[in-house]
Symmetry: none
Subunit: 211 residues, 4 copies
Amino acid sequence: MPKTKPELRVRRTRKYLWDALIRLTTEKGYHAVTVKDITEQAMVNRVTFYRHYEDKHDLLMRGMDEIFDDLVARTKPPLSSLGVSLDRAAPNARAFFEHVREYGEFYRVMLGKNGVSGVENRIRKHIDELFQERLELARQQETGIVKEAMVPPDLAISSISAIVLSMMRWWLENNFPVEAEEIALYTTRLIVLGPYRALGVEMETTGGGGV
Amino acid sequence: MPKTKPELRVRRTRKYLWDALIRLTTEKGYHAVTVKDITEQAMVNRVTFYRHYEDKHDLLMRGMDEIFDDLVARTKPPLSSLGVSLDRAAPNARAFFEHVREYGEFYRVMLGKNGVSGVENRIRKHIDELFQERLELARQQETGIVKEAMVPPDLAISSISAIVLSMMRWWLENNFPVEAEEIALYTTRLIVLGPYRALGVEMETTGGGGV
Amino acid sequence: MPKTKPELRVRRTRKYLWDALIRLTTEKGYHAVTVKDITEQAMVNRVTFYRHYEDKHDLLMRGMDEIFDDLVARTKPPLSSLGVSLDRAAPNARAFFEHVREYGEFYRVMLGKNGVSGVENRIRKHIDELFQERLELARQQETGIVKEAMVPPDLAISSISAIVLSMMRWWLENNFPVEAEEIALYTTRLIVLGPYRALGVEMETTGGGGV
Amino acid sequence: MPKTKPELRVRRTRKYLWDALIRLTTEKGYHAVTVKDITEQAMVNRVTFYRHYEDKHDLLMRGMDEIFDDLVARTKPPLSSLGVSLDRAAPNARAFFEHVREYGEFYRVMLGKNGVSGVENRIRKHIDELFQERLELARQQETGIVKEAMVPPDLAISSISAIVLSMMRWWLENNFPVEAEEIALYTTRLIVLGPYRALGVEMETTGGGGV
DNA sequence: ACGTAAGCGAGACGGTACGTCGCGTCTTACC
DNA sequence: GGTAAGACGCGACGTACCGTCTCGCTTACGT
């Protein structure tokens, strides 16, 4: 790793700028935040900002990169088993939500009503990839897939990430009302059973190949 | 209703401005569009813009209001039955997607990667309400709810709107590859069966009250 | 003349800016004056400055153009006679200094110690041309030139404009201690007699072709 | 003289900076030259510049001081005689122009169209003093002054320095077309005879005490 | 010759001004 | 009354240059 760690002052300056961005975005929404706001909040000269970042978006992206490095590191380990329990969350599902909690302030801001759609897309993409891999694995092992899909597979995948994001949002907006383990478990249930059944709605279904 | 229909010129100007907004947002994303861009595209004087709208966001909101009036009108009629078919989409699910197709350009732009998070939230809120009502109805009629919920109900509800939005996105981004009827059906399946089962993944589940 | 006169507001704004430039240049020298200074002094928004002029230098040049238009207009009329009086200034010499007095503030600032060398050059060039023309005239009429030149002609010409500029500077810096008529007369004497003789110094000269 | 000679490195650095200033001023004019330009040209760190000089102007002034020390040294010796020859330049007039030639690059740059008006003023002041002294001398010796002055004396003096500067400019801009002896001689002729007579123009003059 | 104080390179930083873009308001004139 | 044309105030942008500071390296000078 030839990239040497930046000087102390530099790291300090960058941290101040990042913190200012998050705080101000919380207060008045990402788009309303100006570079001037950020530098005033961070007590850093405006020109210094431009010595480190191209613009506000660049600051966001670079900060996000670090957070995503952590996310990837935590959720990378392959699944030990493909079996699904409805009583206990899968380890990396749990790891995912623990990561979310750790960077809660960031995610709350970015997924909130004044958030940045780019962040959501990036998360979505990451989750899509995780499940895509998992699906591949399942296909190779011929485990689990016994019937024909009832919806286009990519549609199903993207609905999974939609559910996960929805869980994240609920968890964040309600200020982590339950443990990571539990929200991970809810997520699993919603994905496996579907919202209806998870709600406990039992309905007479017709058609659909006899589920 | 004392509100008389505006003058011809006025309607023409507003239409030009709206069309310009949509076209420019498609081209370079909502945030990159300026009022000057809009008025140049619409071949209207910039001052004229401000005679009709407060700002770019106001133009968007007013245009969106009209679209939502249509959406509400179409999806309002209460459900005739609570039974769910996996072979045929529910009438108002279908109506919803027909509406989406009609205003496809608008939704594609607003839910796309350079979209506006506010629009998504507004759609989400509408769908949430639809299903909230439906759940109430189900509870009153004591139909369907036979078991206790395995996830907090509002969580389940919001996961439903997340799925619906995800479906919309897929349908729009892939340029309506299937009929409204079909995408509505897929949506139903994903909600009722859950993404896993809809994919055809059959797994050994443990725990969870014996689903 | 198709160029219509600018709007009242525009003329007013430009006048304020010009006045501010002159005043501030007087106070702290041209190079120390910033656009911000000018606009604050003129009580005009900084952006408005750039709507009229490219930069500080452009403002100076355009203002100078108008002054030079006046100068050219006043000193253009050809000389009635080539005879030289040491008791009465030539009409356009006098007109020149009357013009200088009229725009005294401008010239004082621009030729002063914090002045702008470009302005001096422009004046110098104008005077050079005036005398160049006069010399041509004299040559054509074969009046006056009876002996061979004792210095290169262009050198002599440029020494004339140097003297004129020197007179201007003295007159301006001492706040017009004499009338235009008189300073014009002094100038004539210095050019015709040379500084030494004009001072009253009578010396034994040797050589030089018997002047 | 307690001032010990600076270290080798120091002298080297200062020379590089001075050379860079002159070269860059030649290329794009004094005002357009930045400290960064100078240090890059001199291949010296920008901070090092500020260890030696306050700013660009300080560098210019200190360099100019050395040149003026030389000028003063060469032109100081008092005049042996007050007699004026039109065939041979006075010794210190000649010394003056030899000095100018030696520092030609500097003077060319500083008196050129992108020059620095301060330099001109400083030269002007020096010449004024030289001639002021000379005039005093002449007055005391009662030599030469036989008539009363036809122009205010300080006006005449400043016209002399104007002529000298004009000569310098011509000599420099035309790249020393004649020897120092000759340009000094021209200068003398212009001062003694005046531009008109030096040109060879013989005119009927009226008034003025019969010169 | 050699140890040390100086000169120097590298680069982060605060600060002022620049010239530009976009916003929203206003006025004048046309139809 | 709706519109065009355009001046204007205002706030932010991203850049250039200024002058200061700190941290280490190196180099020429004095003993």
